[in-house]
Amino acid sequence: MESREGNRVQYSGAMVIAKALGRNRGWRPIVAAREPNARYDVVVIGGGAHGLAVAHYLAARHGITNVAVLEAGWIGSGNTARNTAIVRSDYLLDASFRLKHFALGLWEGLAQELNFNVMYSPRGYVDLAHSDGELEHMTLRANAMVLRGAEAKVLDRAALQARVPCLELDAPSRYPISGALVQEKGGVVRHDAVAWGFARQASRQGVDIFQNCPVEGFEIAAGRLQAVLTPKGRIACGQAVISVAGQSAVLAGHAGFELPLTPVNVQACVTEPVKPVLDCVINYNAGLSYVSQTDKGEFVLGGATDGYGSQARRGSFARLEDVLARAAQMFPFLSRLRLMRHWSGTADMTMDGNAIIGETPVAGLMINAGWGYAGFKATPAVGWTLAERLATGKSPDLLLPFALERFATGALIDDAGIGPYPWLH
């Protein structure tokens, strides 16, 4: 059994060099292997970035350390490590904007806070408009952002070409580009490091993290949660949070309630690495295709959902072809690169395309679900606010609009104005 002692060490540049000279022997595991206690104050179900962030902030901000994170596979093996790592807050609706903008502020200081380099790279998020009407809508979004205290710029074609010199504006393209909305604080964060950073810091503060430990059922008495059931046995708990992304409907089913969402498949891929040419994240909006270049030189590409409900984690070839075709419209040179890897994740997409965070019909059981393919950027904000909800029994204002009841009361948060068609969000 590993003790937590080795985990107390503080990482530093000097330490990295010293370990390298010692052939990298003697690194301690981030997560200690141990047996679960019979009871925890809080059980977090799902060791993705969101669940691990909840655990960290419970300990760091509220001193609650009798906490277990139960992960079915290995930490960060879900959508955390499958996403395209984009963070931004350029949302139109108030609730969406505020939570993600709060997250953007937290990303800035996260590497210091976690003593772990999460590589937040504010390289700019460039959202392309393909018509004058779309550019006007982006101006509306930019104005809304500026009024709420964020930075945002609208670029015309000339300014856009100066910002992204390698972008093809003049090819005989099907969807001409008329300008862009740019948020320079948007960018990417290294997603695996986010999971490990939160896990390590939570573990250092006394949180127990169990991998290969799926929750298979709940013990509920008189409408109140008593315990979660796992292969490691029954674990009693004061409160629990379901934070399992693509498996949300399954876990809600175990607890006896339904969630207003449809699982959909989302794909991403990377090319072989080449020399640096693209210094921002760019999003093609006629259809959907977003592109960034990693520090290693690979191009990361993602797009819309496969367009129908799916729990397969197996992508539709039609969608992949579509994403690549649109990327090649922006950057024709991409067509000469080979794809190195391609993968999928199951995204839990709700009826208004926004997340569900807060209480469930079962007392003591919270939910954090419905992030679809947009939840990575919100990770630290979800951890911060949900930890506060668990610790104080009161939802912070940032969370109130995301309550499950909003579907019954009609207070939907539909940024795209699409309606109850999750596969189109």
Partner: protein, 81 residues
Amino acid sequence: MLIPCPNCGPRAEEEFAFGGPVRELPPLDGTADAKAWHRALHGAGRAGGALPEVWYHHAGCECWVTLRRDLASHAFEKAPT
């Protein structure tokens, strides 16, 4: 994915537009309350297994067809009519 159109036979998914799970909508005569609409629009059993769904075959017979599909394996069964 090949979608077995009852009119045209198995065709590539690109020929279809997805219309979602079959939804039993309340009558539009004002008799149904908000709760019934909430259930019809936001519910509809998505916990897994084969679900009846509608597809529009735009590159074929131009009909809406109802088919049952398993969300994990993408295996289709013919919907009972």
